[in-house]
């Protein structure tokens, strides 16, 4: 029987490793979580992890934070969840903090300024790729396409606040699903 203290430390260290060795975040973190928390520590099964991903998609916030909190709370309750989440966040926090000071100085240099001119166009390409991935994952129904178009037009042209659009689309989805189910029941 492990002491609680040791379990908290293990959670912290495991998720520090996950936070430190995954670039880009999001789904990129899942394989490492599977290896570290699943195969090595036996905290969760592969099925559990799939469910966590499904839940993470339907709850707010970054997927990696959701997974860390969930696994931590399973293994060590509230304080376990805290240790895992803190461990996950700490590497990013420290690295970005250091970089934010360096970046200010570096961006003054001409070569860096030139490099960033290329990088900006490259980042657009990465966002386009992410958009394509999400487009493929979205349900292929007339209702989905209508929501997509409405969200796009509201934010891009009508300058509606993003939060209002998000809440509105969630309510529209809820209404649509409930109506569709009632019709099916009849």
């Amino acid at each position: 029987m492990k002491t609680n203290g040791k379990r908290y430390l293990e959670l912290f260290l495991t998720f520090t490793k996950v936070g430190l060795f995954t670039f880009g975040g999001g789904y990129a973190m899942i394989p490492l979580i599977q290896k570290e928390a699943g195969e090595k520590k036996k905290w969760i099964s592969d099925d559990d992890l799939l469910e966590i991903v499904a839940i993470a998609e339907s709850t707010p916030g970054p997927i990696a934070v959701n997974a860390a909190t969930f696994i931590g709370s399973r293994v060590g309750g509230f304080f376990g969840a805290f240790c895992a989440t803190f461990g996950l966040v700490l590497p990013s926090f420290l690295i970005i903090l250091a970089l934010s000071y360096l970046l200010k100085t570096f961006q003054e240099f001409r070569p860096v300024a030139y490099a960033f001119r290329g990088i900006r166009a490259g980042v657009l390409a990465l966002i386009l790729k992410a958009l394509w991935t999400m487009w493929k994952k979205a349900p292929k129904k007339v209702f989905s396409y209508l929501i997509m178009a409405a969200a796009f037009v509201c934010v891009a042209f009508l300058k509606v606040h993003v939060v209002i659009v998000i809440v509105g689309c969630a309510l529209a989805g809820l209404t649509y699903t409930l109506l569709a189910e009632r019709r099916r029941a009849q």
Binding site: Q107, A121, G122, S144, A150
Partner: protein
């Protein structure tokens, strides 16, 4: 006061973004611009930095904006704010795992949220693209500007590479190299 604003703004961002990754971008873009914390160009630059450093985008951007606006403590406030909603919600959901998953209301909301995120990222991409391609605002004269065609070419090449599943860090590396070459070649060009 700024600490509280940072915390509350990122609390809002953490509460209203579903799906993680670039799903956060539309709301972050709106909030960061509304407070005047970062220009669109600085935001794009930071996306590149975030892709090339460990950790989730949301954490990285919260730390970065927080530290730019008011140092280490600002970074801590923003990061805590962005993490807190997920943390609390998952703690609650973990207790009622199955009930949450099979809940009709959750599935209903997701039916609206999944496509909404596609539309929102589309809108964010459009706005960021305007900043990159027309940095001085949209005018007919940009079409005679060499740097416009340069950006367009780098974008097209990087898009092909990204869709061929080249790693994002490699895409950024190539874009940086092209930017360097383009910048120095540009110095020798007779036209600007």
């Amino acid at each position: 006061m700024t600490f509280l604003t940072l915390f509350l703004t990122f609390l809002k961002i953490g509460t209203f973004t579903f799906g993680g990754g670039y799903a956060m971008l539309p709301l972050i873009r709106e909030e960061v611009a509304a407070h005047g914390w970062l220009t669109e160009q600085a935001l794009i630059d930071f996306i590149a930095v975030s892709e090339s450093t460990p950790g989730p985008f949301a954490i990285n951007i919260a730390t970065f904006v927080g530290s730019r606006v008011c140092g280490v403590f600002g970074a801590a406030c923003a990061t805590l704010g962005v993490v807190l909603p997920s943390f609390i919600i998952i703690l609650i959901v973990a207790k009622a795992f199955d009930r949450f998953r099979e809940s009709k209301s959750v599935r209903g909301c997701m039916a609206g949220l999944k496509p909404a995120v596609v539309g929102l990222i589309g809108a964010a991409l459009l706005s960021l693209a305007l900043t990159v391609f027309f940095p001085g605002g949209f005018a007919g004269s940009v079409f005679t500007d060499v740097s416009f065609y340069f950006s367009l070419a780098v974008f097209a090449l990087c898009a092909v590479l990204a869709f061929k599943k080249l790693h994002p860090v490699a895409v950024i590396g190539i874009a940086a190299a092209l930017g360097l070459i383009g910048g120095y070649v540009g110095e020798w060009l007779p036209v600007k």
